[in-house]
Symmetry: C2
Subunit: 116 residues, 2 copies
């Protein structure tokens, strides 16, 4: 068994406290977790569609992330493929503003680099 699913009562990867925010950060702080949620926000996707939209992430990891996100109640399997649960959609509302904001960050960073 490669990795446990982070959850309040089931803390992982150093998240020994079991504090909800740390369990959440542990879950989201794994490769592609945020990306998968981001992509599913636009509607259901099949396994391979998620791979395509996440730069061909390896099936090994996608499978693992799907299991974790499902166990954590953010993702479920529907008729159209994998989709966000209502909790997942709620989580996305917090993430959504980061889309536009990240562009500002990108611009600020690159202009800083130009100054150096």
């Amino acid at each position: 068994m490669p990795s446990r699913v982070p959850a309040p009562g089931n803390p992982v990867r150093g998240s020994k406290s079991g504090k909800p925010i740390m369990a959440l950060f542990d879950l989201l702080g794994r490769s592609w977790s945020l990306g998968v949620i981001w992509q599913l926000a636009n509607g259901p996707l099949t396994f391979r569609q998620i791979q395509d939209r996440c730069e061909q992430m390896s099936p090994t990891i996608l499978n693992r992330r799907i299991k974790e996100l499902t166990a954590s109640g953010f993702v479920e399997k529907g008729d159209q493929g994998y989709q966000l649960t209502s909790a997942g959609a709620e989580l996305f509302t917090f993430l959504k503003p980061l889309g536009g904001w990240s562009k500002k960050w990108a611009d600020a960073l690159s202009s800083e680099e130009r100054q150096q």
Copy 2:
């Protein structure tokens, strides 16, 4: 050299597209990135204070995360220790609501488990 710093023009860990949101997710999707930002939001902390509040995370990784977050413009070194930059503080405003929300998520998850 262990890991590159994710940035819009310097994409990492599969983030080949260089899309700002994916670069941001790549950065935040590394162990303890979110946790460090979370802890620094309450004010400056020293290296060892961050370790203490992040469940004794290993200095190897803390050092690496600090370098990445500094290069990305979210963290800087001040007189009182490490602190969020204005960009870091801005990023935290998006993260902040997750604190309370994660508790609701925790409760929902554990009551689900009880039903099974």
